[in-house]
């Protein structure tokens, strides 16, 4: 199976080591606790575990079986078969961090290209080799801003329409920083215009973070917020949906210094929440402040182009407690998946997917708004998510939808007290007109209640 030792080999090796049994190798372990008997299920063969997990996985209702109108930070998009074909190659998934560049050019060039693709997509100058996910990328932006101002500017302004899980993660990450103050996000009306952030920005502000499209799917031009932030000497960060950038102007055009976001929509399966991909890109002025891995282009001793991990002096294993982040792994394989995805779709394909999302979402919103009792609350421009106010509790509605094979929208009331009867509906290229029409029909049933 996975350990190749035959009895004969084991004996021969023990002899070479000079001990008479394997147990002898563990004398340093306190005898009292040595060789505990673990209460684990009996071992299973590959045949048995395959059966067990097939049964368990069949116990789920996946988006392969259900029509999915659920988004709120993770999205059901089409993944071309070529993506998995590449990331299933042992050369990629069984290698590790490219510490030895001479035999890791595959991983290194792939990351370099990933950095390039994300920089091009976001309009930024540089991008790191990825963070864990969108939430931690935002947290790292906050820490970057803190370090950038050497702790002299405590105020971190988070938009109330930034993904609530991201905001929570930022608060967790910054617990140990006595000199960080998180503000802006815990307002009564999470739907207030981004302009209301402006009044919070002052010379104590290190960073303003907004989302684009925002958590509710709304598209805003943040130019004014960015301008005020910059006037006050603060940094401006934008958390993006990378698919939306196939259509929408990049955050660089309205002044972003840092672009973060969740890369999952770029060819990564939903997988109950992970592994995903934290995007992190900046203007060139901030490059040397970025945490995490960076790959740079260089030449070898024969002058041949090659790639290496660079600026490693920033990292924790060298700077130790002076490093600004402890991040060590990245989401290498997911970054690769997103690169393959972006390479396959290219300029035209990404735009097409973004347009499909936009058009289908608007069709769905239009149809839903005709159902008595339901109303579409989102009035501003939106991308592929919008808020629907419902005549029945959302949990009840979703249970009913599930019986009809439909995964309903996110129940906003679980996070926002002011949106108790609202849900957030997401529509992507995976939803056909027929799906949407069926969804609307089922909503109609609930409107009779």
């Amino acid at each position: 199976m996975f350990t190749p030792h035959t009895n004969a080999e084991r004996e021969e090796m023990l002899r070479a080591v000079g001990v008479s049994s394997i147990e002898d190798l563990f004398k340093a372990v306190p005898k009292k606790y040595r060789f505990p008997s673990l209460d684990l299920p009996p071992k299973k063969s590959e045949l048995e575990i395959t059966n067990e997990l097939s049964d368990l996985s069949n116990g789920n209702g996946s988006v392969k079986d259900l029509m999915c109108f659920l988004g709120a930070g993770a999205y059901h998009h089409f993944i071309p078969a070529a993506v998995d074909s590449i990331i299933s190659r042992g050369e990629f998934f069984t290698a590790y961090t490219p510490y030895q560049p001479e035999i890791s050019q595959g991983t290194l060039q792939a990351i370099f290209e990933y950095q390039s693709l994300i920089a091009n997509l976001t309009g930024m100058d540089a991008c790191n080799a990825s963070h864990y996910d969108g939430a931690t990328a935002v947290a790292e932006a906050v820490i970057l801003a803190h370090a950038h101002y050497r702790g002299k500017r405590p105020k971190m302004i988070l938009s109330p329409s930034l993904n609530p899980q991201y905001r929570e993660t930022v608060r967790t990450y910054t617990q140990g920083f006595a000199d960080i103050e998180i503000t802006g996000d815990l307002v009564k009306d999470p739907l207030e215009s981004p302009d209301s952030l402006i009044k919070l920005i002052d010379m104590q502000t290190a960073l303003v973070v907004v989302q684009y499209p925002d958590f509710f799917g709304r598209i805003y031009d943040y130019a004014k917020v960015a301008e005020v932030a910059h006037q006050n000497g603060a940094l401006f960060a934008v958390s993006i949906n990378p698919i939306a950038l196939g259509l929408l102007k990049p955050p660089s055009e309205f002044g972003a210094d840092i672009v973060v976001g969740e890369g999952q929509p770029l060819g990564i399966p939903l997988s109950l929440g992970g592994p995903y991909l934290g995007l992190f890109a900046t203007k060139k002025e901030l490059v040397r402040k970025i945490s995490g891995r960076l790959v740079g282009e260089t030449v070898d001793q024969d002058g041949k182009r090659g790639y290496v991990l660079t600026l490693t002096a920033r990292e924790q294993h060298i700077r130790r407690e002076k490093a600004t982040s402890n991040i060590c792994s990245n989401q290498g394989l997911m970054a690769l998946a997103s690169s393959v995805y972006l390479s396959l779709l290219g300029k035209q394909g990404l735009r097409q997917v973004a347009e499909l999302c936009y058009q289908k979402a608007h069709y769905a919103a239009g149809q839903i708004s005709t159902v008595p009792g339901f109303s579409v609350r989102t009035k501003t421009p939106f991308f592929h998510e919008f808020i629907v106010d419902c005549p029945v509790p959302v949990a009840e509605l979703n249970a009913h939808l599930l019986e009809h094979g439909i995964l309903g929208g996110f129940e906003l009331g679980t996070v926002f007290p002011s949106l108790k009867k609202s849900c957030l509906i997401a529509v992507t290229e995976m939803n056909t007109k027929d799906d949407i029409d069926i969804f609307v029909e089922v909503l109609k049933e609930m409107s009779h209640d």
């Binding site: 350990t3 505990p36 988006v63 001479e102 592994p275 289908k360």
Partner: protein, 488 residues
């Protein structure tokens, strides 16, 4: 041959994937928000497949051969793991689905929590952290939260032996602790005198790596833990080296209060060229309430007719979530598969053979290389990659020369407490023949270092590129490429 970048391979108008036409009545796009240009490369599917196939051929990987990268536990990644994580019922569930529709996945996560608790002797586990360093950070935050909850706000000092893992100081610093290093004694254990001296009322705890980065099990571990506990501190165990302890000893039994697991090291989930990892955190009873949520629990007990209903719970004084959603579920599936296929005996065998392999390899190279701490090692050991009589040969030269013998080099220049360190971890999935040939290569290289050191200085010779100019990379800092100017 140099592989072009995908940007250089682009040809305007080429398409890799087509999508269906819009099947709904259309709405005008908001012109003021539209981007003018989307500077992405344009390739056909065949171009993309060839490009990444070429890149893959430039990598060394576990599937190719021995990868004794110390402290990284580059064991073989079973193929069944990959198949299981890709089962559509697992790969295509949305993290916010109603729990009723994801009982299979929640059952798996619940069972994995239970398994990890049992394996390491903890009271509760959170699967949320995304990687080892993330788990460390989470663990340290939990230690902080514990002291805060007791009002012990003056406990700001984190003790870190100099034989601990490299991420520990940064994890502590990020959490607001001051780091106090503790020396290692002549046998490679924590220096007890130094430890005692550091243990005052400001101690929050210790972050100990055991077996440590020398590959040695601390012979005084119970005393170390006792000293810290008596000082009112907590003990963090770095789980990166857990592979050596499976079925050998449970960190929780030793008195360790909190530990992260590296599913991608110990439990065979693949390393993916840098990640994703997965770093669940286990804690003793008194720290349960601080874990990041959600944690999977049984929210309705089952009976003969009905299975239990699994759901989420939020520990009451949770430090809060450390990332979105539930953690790296795809990695949980793989680790669950691996643990299930081993059972208690199989896991013990993993540790035993990992340790046997390390000691066997050590027995073959001892003598040719200096061994600063000569004891029975655990799953790895550290040599000095230098020779007194050829002072210009360095660990790096040995590492690079190993590539010419078709091996991945060991970790080098870590731990910092060994000069020119070469940290070697063979793992249990390597067979005797492989270890024999690696040992032979090491012995050859030791000979070459004396007889023809230029072979080492100029190594590697057989790789796709030669030694790379790292200074130029950091100075010129080319981090991205762009579409060729004439492409449109």
């Amino acid at each position: 041959m140099t592989e072009k970048t995908i940007f250089e391979l682009s040809s305007p108008g080429r398409k890799g994937v087509e999508f269906p036409a819009v099947d709904v009545p259309t709405t005008d796009l908001p012109a003021e928000f539209l981007r003018e240009d989307l500077p992405l490369p344009e390739l056909a599917e065949v171009d993309v497949i060839r490009h990444y196939t070429h890149l893959s051929h430039l990598n060394y990987c576990v599937d190719e051969g021995f990868y004794p990268l110390g402290s990284c536990t580059m064991k073989y990644n079973p193929r069944v793991n990959e198949a299981m994580a890709r089962l559509p019922g697992f790969a295509y569930c949305h993290p916010l689905q109603p729990v009723e529709s994801i009982q299979g996945s929640l059952a798996l996560m619940y069972n994995l929590q239970e398994m990890l608790k049992e394996i390491a002797g903890f009271a509760e586990v959170s699967l949320q952290p995304a990687a080892g360093a993330h788990g460390e950070f989470t663990g340290v935050m939990i230690m902080r939260a514990y002291h805060q909850s007791k009002g012990e706000t003056k406990r700001t000092k984190m003790l870190i032996p100099d034989s601990a893992h490299g991420t520990n100081p940064a994890s502590s610093a990020m959490t607001g602790f001051e780091v106090a290093p503790i020396a290692t004694d002549a046998r490679g254990n924590v220096d007890l005198a130094a430890l005692r001296a550091a243990c005052d009322e400001t101690v929050a705890g210790i972050m100990i790596t055991n077996p440590n980065t020398l590959g040695l099990f601390d012979e005084n571990i119970l005393e170390v833990i006792d000293i810290v506990h008596k000082a009112g501190g907590l003990v963090y165990g770095d789980g990166a080296n857990l592979n050596a302890l499976l079925g050998i000893v449970r960190p929780g039994d030793l008195g360790i209060d909190v530990m992260h697991f590296n599913l991608h090291k110990t439990f065979s989930t693949p390393h993916g060229g840098g990640g994703p990892g997965s770093g669940p955190v286990g804690v003793s009873d008194k720290l349960k309430e601080f874990l990041p949520g959600p944690i999977i629990s049984i929210i309705e007990e089952g009976d003969d007719e009905m299975p239990p209903l699994f759901g989420y719970y939020q520990p009451k004084n949770s430090i809060g979530r450390v990332k979105s959603f539930n953690g790296h579920f795809g990695m949980h599936v793989r680790a669950y598969t691996y643990i299930s296929m081993h059972g208690a005996e199989g896991l013990r065998q993993v540790a035993e053979l990992a340790v046997l392999n390390a000691n066997y390899l050590l027995s073959k190279v001892r003598g040719a290389y200096k061994l600063p701490y000569d004891r029975v090692c655990m799953h790895e050991f550290v040599l000095e990659g230098m020779f007194d009589d050829v002072p210009d040969v360095h660990a790096l030269d040995i590492a690079k020369r190993l590539m010419d013998y078709d091996f991945h080099p060991p970790t080098n220049y870590f731990p910092l407490i060994v000069h020119e360190a070469l940290m070697i971890e063979p793992t249990e999935t390597e067979n005797k023949q492989v270890i024999d040939s690696f040992a032979e290569a090491m012995l050859n290289i030791a000979r070459e270092a004396h007889e023809s050191p230029e072979l080492l200085h100029e190594a590697p010779h057989k790789t796709p590129v030669r030694r790379l100019d790292e200074v130029k990379a950091a100075k010129d800092l080319v981090l991205c490429c762009w579409l060729p100017e004439n492409s449109e």
